[in-house]
Symmetry: D2
């Protein structure tokens, strides 16, 4: 296997597992994070601590896993940083907007650096296990170059084309479908309960028939049991992701009526103080609309 | 196994397979259908042809599989028919409204006949194979009595309570979730395509990751490939089922914003002449809204 | 002026003023009502009390003002009643469905009786003052015949065509627009208040600029001041009228997304116990969604 | 009357009439515009041409009328410009976001300059006639100071409070209500036409009864007659304004379901190439949904 030096930015709940898997695969990894705790943890596993982002970019490849557009823009879309970089390619694994992906692609091209978008499906435990699904897009040569890195972090890499924004579109679409599934179950469980059917009976049947797999059984149970804490994925992040879908739609004149309903429901949830709960708490909105008890 | 004589009403695409499975399980079956063709087919398999509904009801149990509320009401909710019946129980396996289930339960009780609601999940092929999922509700004694019949027709019986309407609520909720999944994929595929991602790539990834099972892969492929014919389940039936959910909600003051979007989308599809297509053709509405080619 | 004998059915809050105006215009009026109180009131003004509906229909013209489809159907769409009638024309002034208008037109034609639909705009005070706006449709000869009656009850008659259902469509559309205006102001006032603008300031400005007339100032004040009682028009009647619009749309494949939002909002209001309040109380739903205090 | 020197930025269709009215009221006006044509027109009426924005801000008051957030931000929210200004107050009359108003208020305060938000209701002809309705908010002392300027441009000034953003909220709410009225009529006219009622008959009745005033009669006629050109207010500007409402709602967790429907409808219109038409062309979307001819 071809080993390459990797600079890694963003050691949050997802990033630390991903960086650890790059190390485990034999790549020398130089890490950087805004808070120092996770850096020490990775150094203990064999990583080097970068003094600043300049040092991170003094690697063959940079991999970043940051929370949102704003952070990516503030930290990494920086002409001076890119101008001084030795890195030949940047793999951005965050869930960011299509618009950011397009700006980032152009900016990296100006500095002769490859840009690959590779957002992932999977929670922190899945990241730690190296079992992520990676949705990737970018120039074929760049994708080939970073293939071993993606393979170290995931169980499978799915390709969406040669423009990085395509991978972001796919990821945004996937999260949109998750949100739709949750809202669908929220409405169905309210309908069921108001008509005297136990939501848990409904979800058990659905998960055992039409809808196998973790989404309907997992979120379905949370909805049916009104168990919104601890949050696996916080509600404001859900609103952010619905917003990414609506924005990607707006840029191409694609109306998304389900997306509009989701946006309104998430705002309603936030207006009722559910910002620290899992996005499954959008089910509390469906219950409230129907006058069902909390 | 306890054998009982069964009157069977409604030998449509679903009913003929179900009746055949009752025969195969050793129950004497007397069949009735508005058109004679399917009757001959069942008689060839060992059934007896009933001259009229009165003869059907001269059995220990009646099983019916009719297309909608109107037909059930016109044929079976008939005081004279019930007054003269020998049958001790009627198993209504159609997808009908909660309101009809409540009326039917009361009417059968007046005549001392048990009433079980047992709508099913599965297409005609599944019915023929005896692999339906049966959603059942009714008094425990009645459910026990008809258990062998349900077992002969399905792979599993799911119980929802002692009021028949509970099973109809569960079935209506399941179909509501199917419609939501189709619309979700329709919107996501339009979003993806408008942003340069191939819908088939998106669906393949989703079916291989978050959404295993036949709904997302099956309907997803139809949506992604714009393959709406031949119809497995015609669009007007989809609108009917969404209407059943909206009505069940209205009766208990349960708003269903996704249901409202679905209703509008199905009407839009009908307004554009798609009434003979599969309900997956609601995806053509999402495409049209976004100005994507047919 | 040509005087004719009139049978009048339905002396509710609206009907009693309308019947009084027919009397005042010199027409002999025979009245019938399910409860006797209003009958005495009209008799004191010169009307004759009819012993039954047969007597009402023994007039040259029948005018009815009943609350809804169900009542019209139960009382007046009765073959025996129509077969024995001397009346040459029935003017139905209630807000009923397009479908009922079509059935009633056909049934009256079978019995050689003219049928005119003439629903009205205006509250009871307006009816008492003879200042209603009358929305009329029917065959030209029939409309001409009943023109003096309509003129006695209203300030103006608006014509919509020779099919009675056209007038019902116009009335349903007008009520749909009222409901839309109320919901629009409900959302705008929540938006304003959440952003620190006093809703009363907003409504005062709007009523003084873009939106003159009683709807925006009247309902606007109720919304801005959260003054939903006493009810001028009860919320369940509002839901009924939105339902008439949705049904008229469904019959012709016309999606009404604003209508869908209205339906969901009215159900939400009912789910929270606001069924005795004015339909302006739909504003409480907009406030609740935004987490604003009751 | 107290005369003051005024710098005026933005001589578009609205601004040129407004600046002319300031001149007519006796205020010396120094004008600036990105394209020179309108400058000459105002100079011919007595204005002075400013060489740059610095010269504009060398006046006692600055009035600006720019198309959108982006332009205001690019031209006027400039620390150097404000640091060098002699002007004591800036009156921003554009329809901009609540967020921009808040940023602008803070930035002007840093430089010791008053900031008044005073967006207007009225088309260019109304602006030229000095008959605008001015929606104003800001510190009382500043409002008093610029009162004569606002009076010179409008028929009336409506006050919304001491925070400039309040006036922007009021203006955004007013435009939201306009958009809702248009969509309401679009849906009602489709419903009417599909049921055999002439939309022009419906609108004439509505404008003559429930909904007096220019909005329902003016936009109603455009909708009923499908007359979307020439554009009085282009559809993309309508989408922008709906977006301002949605954003102002999102910032305070206010769901706006009608706003969501509007957004989807405007996108649908743009997806069908109606970007140069009046925003009344959203009615073409309602017609298309219902399968009515263009």
């Amino acid at each position: 296997m071809s080993v390459m030096t990797v600079g890694f930015v963003g050691l949050g709940a997802m990033g630390r597992g991903m960086a650890a898997n790059l190390l485990a695969a034999g790549h020398p990894v130089r890490v950087w994070n805004r808070s120092p705790g996770p850096v020490e943890e990775l150094v203990a596993k064999g990583a080097t601590a970068a003094a600043d982002l300049g040092e991170v970019y003094d690697s063959e490849a940079v991999v970043s896993m940051l929370p949102d557009d704003r952070t990516v823009e503030a930290l990494l879309l920086d002409g001076a940083l890119l101008a001084g970089a030795r890195a030949g390619v940047h793999v951005n694994m965050a869930t960011v907007s299509v618009a950011l992906a397009e700006r980032a692609t152009a900016l990296h091209a100006e500095h002769g650096i490859g840009y690959v978008a590779a957002p992932v499906l999977g929670r922190p435990g899945v990241a730690a296990a190296g079992e992520l699904n990676v949705l990737a897009a970018g120039e074929a040569a760049q994708l080939e170059r970073v293939g071993p890195l993606l393979a170290a972090m995931g169980r499978r890499t799915w390709h969406f084309g040669d423009r990085p924004a395509q991978a972001n579109t796919a990821k945004i679409s996937a999260n949109f479908l998750l949100a739709c599934a949750i809202e669908s179950m929220a409405e169905a469980c309210s309908l069921a309960e108001a008509n005297g059917v136990r939501p848990t009976d409904l979800i058990e049947m659905l998960a055992g028939t039409l809808f196998p797999g973790p989404v309907y059984s997992g979120y379905g149970s949370m909805v049916a049991e009104r168990r919104y804490e601890p949050a696996g994925f916080r509600l404001p992040l859900g609103l952010k992701d619905v917003g990414l879908a609506l924005s990607a739609g707006e840029a191409r004149n694609v109306p998304l009526p389900f997306g509009s309903v989701l946006r309104d429901a998430f705002l309603d949830a936030l207006a009722h103080g559910d910002g620290e709960k899992d996005w499954a708490a959008v089910a509390a909105v469906a219950r409230r609309r129907a006058g069902l008890p909390d």
